[in-house]
């Protein structure tokens, strides 16, 4: 039986006094989850532009190694040599910052931060997060982290350059590369604040989903978006502390002379005193977060897609329970596969065998999800909104990127493929592109709820087709050079006969990458333009079932002006036989839809009284009824 949720929220009573909020409390130090979501979104978009620009620069180096990059000198200063060449170490700095920014700042903070914040209260029927204050702190810690990381870009010695995984000893010894000096220190400080932000956010999401669901909203009636955000938060709360520990030990090794990761090192003409540490220990700790992290960026995108595909196919999502169970399976398994990143690091080969089996198990729930998406499309009545296009695109890149995991998870095959462009292709499709598509789809879909206006459809279509074709032209060819053995994080390939034969393909990839990057500005324009000049949104533009569309078009603080609507049914009653319209929102009781009820649903009518009778006490005392 659904639990009744008491809700404490003083704002519920004064939402009509909102105009009293000053600019600062309304837009800056704001505790409203919707505003915080927009803050995350806009910060995430800012970082996406920077991260994308970095990839454009290093792609130019890879695609056109002979080109004169002198024109970048005003921007990059001494990192461009006198004869117009990119500095080799700065190349690595760009790659490192690109990876860090994309994974953490764009697809963790930008994705979860935006949509968990925005949708959890709106879709479960709550006035706000469990703790608005912690939620606000979460954003401001992220902001602080962003500022520090941003400053590190301008250091004399350059930002961190050891790859986004910052493996010691390279990242621990300033003698090893100049980016391991102050740049690395700032990287670590920024990441510590980032972790704090993630934990504050995650704890809030979990608490809110468990405690603040509206009347009638049992766990099995939650939209898949909420399941995804919920489990993402669980993964984050369990794994980020381990990264924190890894980072802390690295700080000790760097600054206080400990030897957690360092042993038997001779560098810069001297033998260091450190003995007994293990670089492999760092890798275990890092990937204990690092692997779950890829699901932290992916699950929200899958949740968003489930919702959008069901809505725009005008069909219930196929296999709702199987979808939830798959998500649960992925959540649990994501913690026991981390060492597949370490097959050839010198880790005990027996561990390699164990992790190979565990890794290929995780492919199963992922496959189940794909089959469920496909069956949802089958015999639908599909409306191609830009959000829907990006969701279909997500399913495609999720398949083509995920399937190469079957190669990489097989340790015998991974010997050759590890740290080549095959890996770069794999994770850009399955994690980079899929999550990015999910994020963009989410923006197109919930823009009307965020800003009360519609984004332009046509521009959305153009954006989609450029991006969809673009990511395939960029990342698909990388498989070929990966199979040929191209190592990643190489400034150029001309030193090796084995790798120097693919200049044409590399140039092609770079051109495609540049075009794809530029195409994102169509989206940016559409976004900014529509905030101010977009067509006014109707109440429920996509004829969707979930609760957020029952709020006013521009919901205020507290979300619903009156009582929060109760929930009677699951969120996927689309095209129900007998029903007049092709959707029945979650807050419509079965007693009002006699013509379309299934037999077991008629039994639920008797229970509706219970839901209606639940008293919601918004004054602060906790009522618990069964």
């Amino acid at each position: 039986m659904a639990t009744a949720e008491a809700h404490t929220d003083s704002h519920a009573h004064d939402h009509d006094h909102e105009h009293k909020d000053s600019f600062i409390t309304k837009y800056i130090f704001c505790q409203d989850h919707k505003v915080i979501a927009k803050q995350f979104l806009i910060t995430g978009m800012f970082w996406a532009i920077i991260g994308g620009a970095f990839s454009a620069i290093f792609r130019m180096q890879l695609g056109f190694p002979d080109a004169d990059l002198g024109w970048l000198q005003p921007l990059l200063g001494k990192w461009i040599s006198a004869d117009g060449k990119l500095d080799t170490e700065f190349y690595l700095a760009l790659v490192t910052m690109h990876g860090t920014i994309m994974v953490f700042f764009v697809l963790t903070a930008g994705l979860s931060g935006t949509f968990s914040n925005f949708l959890i209260p709106l879709q479960i029927g709550a006035r706000d997060m469990a703790s608005g204050f912690m939620n606000m702190l979460s954003y401001w810690f992220f902001f602080l982290s962003s500022v520090i990381m941003f400053i590190s870009l301008f250091l004399e010695t350059g930002p961190a350059s050891g790859g986004w995984v910052v493996y010691p000893p390279l990242s621990a010894l300033p003698q090893a590369m100049s980016g391991s000096g102050l740049g690395m220190t700032l990287w670590l400080v920024a990441m510590v604040f980032f972790i704090v932000s993630s934990l504050l956010g995650g704890i809030n999401y979990i608490t809110t989903v468990i405690n603040l669901r509206t009347r009638g909203m049992s766990m099995w009636k939650l939209p898949l978006t909420i399941w995804a955000f919920f489990l993402t938060a669980v993964i984050g709360v369990l794994s980020f502390p381990v990264l924190f520990a890894a980072a802390l030990l690295l700080v000790f090794d760097r600054s206080f002379g400990t030897s957690f990761y360092l042993s038997e090192i001779y560098i810069g003409g001297e033998a260091l005193p450190n003995l007994g540490g293990s670089p492999i220990l760092y890798q275990h700790l890092f990937w204990f977060l690092g692997h779950p992290e890829v699901y932290i960026v992916l699950l929200p995108a899958l949740g968003i897609t489930s919702e959008i595909i069901a809505t725009n196919s005008r069909k219930p999502i196929f296999g709702y329970k199987a979808m939830v169970i798959s998500l649960l399976g992925i959540t649990v398994l994501s913690f026991v596969v981390w060492a597949h990143h370490m097959f050839v690091t010198g880790m005990n080969p027996f561990l390699g065998s164990i992790f190979m089996f565990l890794t290929l198990i995780i492919a199963i729930p992922s496959a189940v999800k794909v089959f469920n998406y496909l069956t949802t499309l089958w015999r639908g009545n599909i409306i191609f909104t830009p959000a829907m296009l990006f969701s279909i695109g997500l399913v495609s890149v999720f398949i083509s990127g995920g399937i190469t995991g079957v190669f990489l998870g097989n340790s015998a095959i991974d010997i050759q493929l590890h740290d080549t462009y095959f890996v770069v292709a794999h994770f850009h499709l399955v994690m980079g592109s899929a999550s990015f598509f999910g994020m963009v789809a989410g923006v197109y879909h919930w823009f009307p709820k965020m800003f009360g206006r519609m984004m332009d459809r046509k521009l959305g279509y153009i954006h989609f087709w450029f991006t969809f074709v673009g990511v395939y032209l960029v990342f698909f060819p990388m498989h070929y050079i990966g199979i040929a053995g191209f190592p990643r994080r190489y400034y150029s390939f001309t030193n090796f006969d084995a790798f120097s034969g693919f200049t044409d393909l590399n140039a092609f990839i770079s051109v495609a990458a540049l075009i794809t990057f530029i195409a994102q500005f169509i989206f940016l324009f559409n976004f900014v333009y529509s905030i101010f000049r977009g067509k006014k949104a109707p109440a429920n533009p996509w004829k969707s079932n979930t609760l957020e569309w029952t709020t006013p078009i521009n919901p205020g603080h507290g979300n619903w002006p009156g009582e929060i609507p109760p929930v009677y049914r699951w969120p996927y009653d689309y095209s129900k036989p007998g029903a007049e319209d092709d959707f029945i929102p979650q807050n419509v009781p079965f007693s009002e839809t006699m013509e379309s009820n299934l037999p077991h649903e008629n039994d639920e009518i008797a229970l509706e009284k219970d839901i209606d009778e639940l008293v919601v006490d918004e004054t602060g005392e906790h009522h618990d009824q069964h």
């Binding site: 090192i265 001779y266 005008r314 198990i361 599909i382 398949i399 190669f407 332009d456 030193n495």
Partner: protein
């Protein structure tokens, strides 16, 4: 000046695009196509789905077939032939999955595009289907994993006792190759003995007799047909030994020696003849980011017939005979042995 023109041109193009955008929005408002549930764009998008599928698969197939050889690196080791086989087996299975799922997806997207008056099928679940598509991937994956696991166990099994021992030491930004000499035993080292100035970059410990006959060489020379055991270590940061043609990869870790055993099946000359390229060389590359010159940590690799290899090995001068000043480091009681084993008397 040129910059200004470019700037103006971009500005102009953006302006024109903006105009087009405004006009098309006006037209939409007039035609009311924004009010409709699905305008003609819906059909266009549906058709583009099919076009994308056909052109995409077509291009990928054409390119893969035409340029197959360019991206299929020749293989020259025993286990490499096995892992390649596993690779291609996995390729065929996964390719089938990718094609089938994509065809279904794009065809569904096209076929079930919105039509006025059409109603979608209310079809929330089917447990039988769920069981099938859980079990089938599980079985196929198990098959792939078990064959991979068996290969992995073999590749990672302990090396033969008489495997040819070669030490590969990675440092910023080069490799140092050390041979065990006639006793085929690469001697002890200690990182505290490393001294680039004095000329002991490997930290060779001269109190170990196994070191007396060891020698360094500027290339990685290996015999065909005999098991080789690479003893891999790093001096400063992580590196990774990558021999693409032998399908060998193993990280070099400071403070933790690693190893990789393998058997090469083709000499350099055989490979040159096979590829019709007399310039061909096997190469050793680094695949773990290690600093600014990571991309240039290259060593040439020479593969010889076993007899030639032994002959070559016998000709090499030991480290001690090339650097006799290190005789000082040899303990008194071993000096005589060192002189004989290192073949120093030969020189005098």
């Amino acid at each position: 000046m040129f910059g200004l023109y470019i700037f103006l041109a971009v500005f102009l193009i953006l302006g024109i695009l903006l105009m087009i955008f405004r006009i098309s929005r006006l037209i939409n408002v007039v035609k009311g196509s924004d009010e409709k549930r699905a305008s003609t764009s819906n059909n266009v998008n549906a058709m583009l789905m099919i076009a994308f599928m056909v052109i995409g698969f077509g291009l990928a197939a054409w390119y893969s077939v035409t340029y197959f050889d360019l991206y299929d690196p020749p293989v020259a080791s025993e286990h490499g032939e096995l892992t390649d086989k596993l690779f291609w087996r996995t390729m065929w299975v996964t390719l089938l999955v990718v094609v089938v799922t994509h065809v279904l997806m794009f065809v569904f997207a096209y076929k079930y595009r919105y039509k006025e008056g059409q109603k979608a099928l209310f079809y929330p679940h089917n447990n039988k289907l769920e069981y099938i598509w859980t079990l089938v991937p599980a079985v196929v994956l198990t098959w792939l994993v078990i064959s991979g696991w068996m290969a992995w166990e073999d590749i990672m099994a302990p090396a033969d006792k008489d495997a040819e021992q070669i030490e590969v030491l990675g440092y910023q930004f080069a490799w140092s190759i050390r041979y065990g000499g006639m006793d085929n035993n690469v001697g002890d080292y200690d990182y505290r003995l490393i001294d680039d100035v004095a000329g002991n970059p490997n930290g060779i410990d001269f109190t170990d007799k196994a070191n007396f006959d060891d020698f360094l060489f500027q290339n990685l020379v290996i015999p065909k047909g005999k098991e080789i055991l690479l003893k891999i270590r790093a001096r400063d940061v992580l590196h990774s030994v990558f021999l693409p043609h032998f399908r060998v990869k193993m990280d070099a870790v400071p403070g933790m020696p690693t190893q990789f055993k393998f058997i090469v099946t083709k000499t350099t000359q055989e490979m040159r003849d096979e590829l019709g390229d007399q310039e061909f060389n096997y190469e050793l590359a680094c695949t773990e980011i290690c600093g600014e010159s990571h991309f240039s940590m290259k060593k040439n690799v020479i593969v010889m017939e076993l007899e030639d290899y032994y002959e070559w090995k016998a000709e090499q001068e030991t480290f001690l005979s090339v650097n006799p000043e290190f005789m000082d480091k040899v303990p008194e009681e071993l000096k005589e042995l060192a002189v004989v084993t290192a073949g120093i008397d030969k020189q005098d």
